[in-house]
C-alpha cells in the first residue's frame, strides 16, 4: 500500500509533461527531422587461388528527412569498389515516401526493386554471407527501379500479407523510353512460414550479366521457414527469366542458417544458376559456408569458405573475410 502511495505522489511529477524519448539509433540526428548514417566495410580474399587481396568494397551514406509524420525524403549514396578494380560513386536510392497507413505506403523516385527475400536485405552489412547468391550476382532483376511504388501489409488471425506493386522506367540506355512493371506478394503464416512470388516485366537492364537487349519476364518464387524461435532459418528462392529472342534462364539457391546465439551464426548456401554471359548453355554451381560474428551494434564480421564451378570447369575454392562498420 505504501508503494501505491509513493506512486500516487510521484504521479503529480511524472505526467504528460515528462515526454517519452526516442530510442537511440545508429547514425546522427541533425535537429528534429534529419537523420544521417551509413556503413563501410573491409574485404580480404584469395579468390580463385590468386594472391590475397584486400580492399574497401563499400561505403554507404544515407540521409533521412522527416518532412511530416507521414512524409519523408530518403536518399542513399554509395561508393562501390568491385573486386578492388576501381570505385564508382552513385545514387542508390532517392525517393519521397508517403505513408498512408500500414496497409498503404507510396514511394516516388528511385527505390530498391521489391523482389523476393534476398534483395529486400541485400546490403553487405545485413546479409549472412560474403558472396551474393549467384542469381543475384547475375543481376537478372535490376537492383533499382525508378518510378512509383505502392506497398503495404495486412494481418489477420491466420497470418500476414505483404505486397508491393510498382511501375518504373526501364534501366536500359538503348530502350530507355520503355516502362516496366512488377509486383511482389508474400504471405507469412504463424510468423514462421513465409511464401511469396514476384513478377516483373521489363527491358533487360544495362547492369545485367545477360548481354542481349530485349524484353524480360521474370518470375521469382520464394519460401522461408523459421524454426525453434529463430534458431534455424531455411530459405530458398528460384528465378525463371523468359528472354525475348533467346532461351529462358533460371536459377535457385537454398540456405540454412543456424543462429547459435545473438552474436554468432553459421550459414550454408547452395547455388545453381544459369550463366548466360557467353551465350553458351553454362550452368554455375556454388557451395558457401559462412561464420558470422556480430559482437556489437556497430561492428560485424564474417569469414567464409566458398567452392564454385561452371558446368565445363572443375571446382574452384576461395576464402574470404569481411568486416563491416556501422556509423
Amino acid at each position: 500500500m505504501r508503494y501505491w502511495l509513493i506512486l500516487q505522489l510521484l504521479a503529480s511529477g511524472l505526467s504528460h509533461a515528462q515526454e517519452l524519448k526516442e530510442a537511440p539509433l545508429k547514425g546522427f540526428q541533425l535537429g528534429d527531422r534529419v537523420h544521417v548514417g551509413g556503413w563501410f566495410d573491409l574485404w580480404v580474399d584469395d579468390a580463385q587461388g590468386e594472391d590475397v587481396d584486400g580492399y574497401v568494397p563499400h561505403v554507404f551514406f544515407f540521409a533521412d528527412l522527416r518532412i511530416s509524420q507521414r512524409v519523408r525524403l530518403f536518399t542513399e549514396m554509395a561508393s562501390i569498389n568491385t573486386e578492388g578494380l576501381g570505385g564508382s560513386t552513385s545514387l542508390q536510392r532517392a525517393y519521397l515516401e508517403f505513408k498512408h497507413s500500414h496497409a498503404l505506403k507510396w514511394r516516388l523516385g528511385q527505390f530498391n526493386t521489391p523482389s523476393g527475400l534476398w534483395k529486400e536485405k541485400h546490403w553487405h552489412i545485413m546479409v549472412d554471407a560474403n558472396r551474393k547468391p549467384l542469381m543475384a550476382e547475375r543481376r537478372y532483376i535490376p537492383m533499382h527501379a525508378l518510378g512509383i511504388e505502392a506497398s503495404g501489409g495486412a494481418m489477420n488471425a491466420v497470418g500476414n500479407w505483404d505486397y508491393s506493386a510498382f511501375v518504373a522506367q526501364s534501366d536500359n540506355r538503348e530502350l530507355d523510353n520503355q516502362a516496366s512493371f512488377g509486383a511482389d506478394v508474400s504471405f507469412m503464416f504463424q510468423d514462421r512460414y513465409r511464401f511469396g512470388s514476384f513478377y516483373y516485366d521489363y527491358m533487360n537492364s544495362d547492369e545485367s550479366s545477360d548481354p542481349l537487349i530485349g524484353q524480360r519476364q521474370t518470375w521469382l518464387t520464394y519460401a522461408e521457414v523459421r524454426l525453434r524461435e529463430n534458431v534455424l532459418l531455411l530459405r530458398a528462392e528460384r528465378i525463371h527469366v523468359k528472354r525475348q529472342g533467346a532461351a529462358d534462364a533460371s536459377g535457385a539457391y537454398a540456405k540454412l542458417k543456424w543462429q547459435i546465439n545473438q552474436q554468432i551464426f553459421l550459414n550454408y548456401r547452395y547455388d545453381d544458376t544459369d550463366n548466360v554471359e557467353t551465350g553458351l548453355p553454362i550452368r554455375s554451381y556454388a557451395h558457401t559456408l559462412t561464420a558470422g560474428y556480430w559482437p556489437t551494434d556497430w561492428l560485424r564480421a564474417r569469414i567464409e569458405y566458398g567452392s564454385h564451378k561452371q558446368s565445363i570447369d572443375s571446382w574452384r575454392h576461395e576464402w574470404s573475410a569481411w568486416l563491416g562498420f556501422i556509423f
Binding site: I6, L10, E22, A23, D191, E229, N230
Partner: protein, 138 residues
C-alpha cells in the same frame, strides 16, 4: 527519499516476470504473443480504428531483455532489427520510458499507449486505472 524508496521497491521486483498494461480505453482485453510481437515491432499501428502506441525501456534494462526474450524470441536481435528497419523503411523503435513508474503513469494517462511493467506492479497499475492485458499463446 521518495525516489529512493521507489527505486528500492522496483529493484525488489527483480525478474519476477512482467505484465502487459495499457490505457483503460485500449480496445482489447487480451492479446496473443503474436499480436504483441507485431505491436512492439510496429507492424500493427491500429486495432480497429484505434491507434496504438507501444513504449519500451532502454535495451540495457533487464525488464526489456526479459520481454524481448519472452515475446520476440530468445535469438531475436532487436537492435539489428531496428537498424534494418531504419535503413530499409525509415521506421523507428517504440519510444522510451525512463523506468517502470514512468511507464505506469504515462500509460495510465495517455489513450492508446501499451507497455509492460514488473508483475509485482499489477496492483498499482490497476489502481492507477491502467488495464492489465492478458497474454496468451502463441
Amino acid at each position: 527519499m521518495l525516489m529512493l524508496a521507489l527505486c528500492l521497491f522496483l529493484w525488489q521486483q527483480g525478474n519476477d516476470g512482467f505484465v502487459v498494461i495499457a490505457h483503460r480505453d485500449f480496445p482489447a482485453q487480451s492479446l496473443t504473443k503474436r499480436q504483441l510481437r507485431h505491436i512492439f515491432l510496429k507492424q500493427i499501428s491500429t486495432i480497429g480504428k484505434h491507434p496504438i502506441y507501444p513504449i519500451q525501456y532502454r535495451s540495457e534494462e533487464s525488464l526489456q531483455a526479459l520481454f524481448e526474450a519472452a515475446i520476440l524470441g530468445k535469438r531475436f536481435d532487436a537492435k539489428a532489427y531496428w537498424y534494418e528497419q531504419q535503413v530499409q523503411a525509415g521506421e523507428k523503435p517504440p519510444l522510451l520510458v525512463q523506468n517502470e513508474a514512468h511507464a505506469l503513469i504515462y500509460i495510465a494517462r495517455n489513450p492508446g499507449y501499451i507497455g509492460f511493467v514488473p508483475k509485482g506492479l499489477s496492483l498499482e497499475a490497476s489502481k492507477l486505472g491502467a488495464k492489465i492485458i492478458r497474454v496468451s499463446d502463441p
